[in-house]
Assembly symmetry: C2
Homo-oligomer: 471 residues x 2
């Protein structure tokens, strides 16, 4: 007999099919009419499949009526249209086999809201909760949409090295990677660490960005993107900084900054449209339980044309706003989250792409505008988040680049020299004017020194610890 | 005017379109009839677009006739059907703009075969060569096919931690990850390294496998897969071992080993079919220049039903073969590459899935068969490669698992204890019999201590250093 996932069995078109489903019991409800309702979930979707277990089952008294949350079962029966609310189908079981019991005494997940702090202590079971299940499914669809988008746009997915000897951007503190025994470090005659005995024969680190390698490959493959883990050894206990996260870094040859802005807008809209289409139940759960505006925010982004506003215009707007910001606003200063959110949420009520930032607050490799004061950098700001993508067009004039690297080279000599060397090699060998406007999208994941447990609810104290549970 | 990639412009359906293309010159050929042919490549596909540059172009003498390999240009013109061989279209240029010159004297890539050793010295330009361009496009399509396959099968893509405190399988030596300053290590009063000052407050390493986390998530999400970087600090200078590589690790609840075998077969066939369909030119290049059997091998795999052969039968076949192997064959010993390749290439002439291996050569967590001697493990062997996927069904009986962990726990106490703890938690909390048969597929990438430069040509000395080049 055919095996269906709960997601498949819940679709109206499955009505009338004989099928087997397997999963974990969320709840059991015994009817006075002499049968039981089981709610079964297998992670394939947010919703449960309701299983009607008639008293005529041979193991009804001995097993079915003893089922509790967490038990794993195989149920066989007919998928029927459900008279109940919120579900198109249900299963009338002909056979229920208990694959594994869960003793309700020690089993920690029950039909109630558990705090995120508690769930952290049973991390191996979080995949069975509504919140973490929904996060996993949403994250999966985001990743899938990212790959689909870049493939459709003709990009080549590349894997840049994770272990590296170069500090790409001077972007942040790095984790060192070593096979030397720390308890017995080998030393040179001069008393320094003898890296010739380390795995790669030199000090190595975890990458902070695949940008350097992606740039080189874009100058042969045309359009490339990375989507892999990235590391920053920074002790930032904010909801937006992680020590380990997955990042998207596209690099395109022959792109002007305007092309990059268009790509970024298409990219975000593609991803959000895909998400709303594929995860309506998960997103509805987030709307009800985490942030009542989450779906509206995404819808609004989908329906907006992203505004293009220069940094200079943005500063004028902020200065004219009459707001008192924590960080003062002045031309030549970097924008803070409060400024970005004012622009996108209060002033424009729309996603905004800021561009042409002062050269003094941006890296040397961004293309200098004719005004001599600004560079071809851009940031995409969206409501509720602020900056979601940052990027720039690279300087492609050898003399300008040389002048700028010399100007800044005292500050970060090694990182910049490495950077420069990469450019120099490309220039020397004929990369020519392959203008590129890359950008990055960041997805948090995994390790954080101290994980912020209320990252979904950062704006509202009332919403903290709203917890989780089956319902 | 519309911008097309070289791949788009080369399609027959582009005939008649006015377009702009941008890329790098591979070669220029001047005709005595007073015009030039330019071969343009932008990395979007293996082939070049032939551009006919008439002498009537205003910059024909001053620029077009000075173009050499590596120059970047923008060409505008009409896409026409090509009378030439091996190409459906060509462009008749109305305008050619030189974006960047490449001095032919220092520019290292020329129309000849360069050795891989030489290309290694100009790694930033390898993306412009036929071989590395083809590898990038093939790898991209392999990755895309992997994601598509698992998404279609209802799997959820998960990101397991890269930095970890656990040694998943005792699978191999690990890289340590630290922010301690090695030149001035903090010490405890007892003289040991003071890990409380390290970033995570304890020793941490790069993951050797996401299996433990994937198992836990599969026991809530049903079917999950990882596809991320993995690390082994092993000094193995073979064509099949890398210090850093990308690996696919699916984990499925409610799967018997037979389900896993079917999934593995569908998976490989899906990927190979996708590859042959999407990269015919790249694969034809590999056939001509690297391995004449490569396309036939994939075709044969596609057309085969993967045979299911027990380990015990395989041993009997090897013993009866009359071959003298370097490693002796005996029941209870692990199979070596020479045995695997004999089975798949010489005996069965087909992909083979070996299953039910002796318990003594497999980890404790694989499900014990009723014979008490073998476990539910499998390896997928394909011609020309040998083992390409390995997997197992997990032991789901608490008492059996406990007995086996106690039996082996002296050997690798810490790694195994961690492993066991994960199982124990799942059992204790009602994972029940959620049988899983996971497998892994391995893709090499990136770092290797000493990279083997002839990994595409390992079986034939004559083929070494066949090099690369434009043609």
């Amino acid at each position: 007999m055919e095996k269906l996932s709960v997601a498949q069995a819940r679709r109206p078109e499955s009505t009338g099919r004989e099928a087997i489903v397997e999963g974990w019991i969320r709840t059991r409800r015994d009817s006075k009419a002499g049968f039981s309702f089981l709610e079964l979930n297998d992670g394939s979707c947010f919703g449960n499949l309701q299983i009607l277990a008639p008293a005529s089952l041979p193991n009804y008294e001995s097993e079915v009526r003893r089922l509790t949350a967490g038990c794993s079962v195989r149920a066989e029966g007919l998928i029927k249209a459900s008279p109940g609310k919120g579900q198109a189908t249900e299963m009338e079981a002909r056979n229920i086999q208990v694959l594994g019991w869960a003793d309700p005494e020690p089993y920690p997940l029950q039909k109630k809201q558990h705090s995120f702090e508690f769930l952290r202590t049973i991390a191996h079971l979080r995949g069975r909760t509504n919140t973490f299940g929904a996060i996993a499914r949403v994250r999966n669809q985001l990743c899938h949409a990212i790959h689909d988008f870049f493939q459709q746009e003709g990009f080549i997915y590349i894997h840049t090295p994770i272990i590296t000897a170069s500090d790409c951007e001077g972007a942040g503190a790095m984790f060192q990677v070593t096979t030397l025994k720390l308890e017995a470090l080998p030393k040179t005659e001069g008393g320094r660490v003898d890296y010739s005995q380390d795995f790669f024969g030199r000090p190595t680190y975890l990458t902070v960005s695949g940008q350097l390698e992606a740039e080189a490959l874009a100058c042969g493959l045309g359009k490339v993107y990375t989507f892999g883990p990235t590391f920053r050894a920074e002790n930032s206990n904010t909801p937006r900084h992680l020590a380990e996260f997955w990042m998207v870094e596209p690099e395109m040859a022959f792109f002007e900054l305007e092309d990059t802005m268009d790509l970024a807008e298409r990219n975000l809209k593609y991803i959000f449209r895909h998400l709303l289409e594929k995860c309506p139940e998960d997103m509805e759960f987030f709307r009800q339980r985490i942030d009542p505006t989450v779906i509206d925010t995404l819808q609004q982004i989908l329906e907006s044309r992203f505004l293009r506003v220069s940094y200079t215009e943005a500063i004028d707007i902020l200065l004219a706003s009459g707001r008192s910001f924590e960080f003062p606003v002045a031309w030549g200063k970097d924008l803070q989250a409060e400024h970005e959110r004012y622009l996108t949420e209060q002033h424009f009520h729309s996603p905004v792409i800021l561009y042409d930032y002062p050269r003094t607050i941006k890296p040397f490799y961004m293309k200098l505008n004719d005004d001599g004061r600004t560079v071809r950098a851009m940031d995409v700001l969206v409501p509720k988040v602020g900056e979601i993508i940052g990027g720039s067009q690279r300087e492609d004039r050898y003399d300008v680049l040389l002048e700028r690297i010399e100007f800044v080279s005292d500050a970060q000599p090694i990182a910049l020299w490495r950077r420069f060397r990469s450019y120099w090699q490309l220039f020397q060998t004929g990369a020519g004017r392959a203008t590129k406007g890359p950008f990055r999208t960041v997805f948090g994941s995994g390790n954080q020194k101290r994980v912020n447990t209320n990252e979904w609810t950062q704006d509202s104290d009332e919403e903290r610890n709203i917890g989780d549970g089956w319902q």
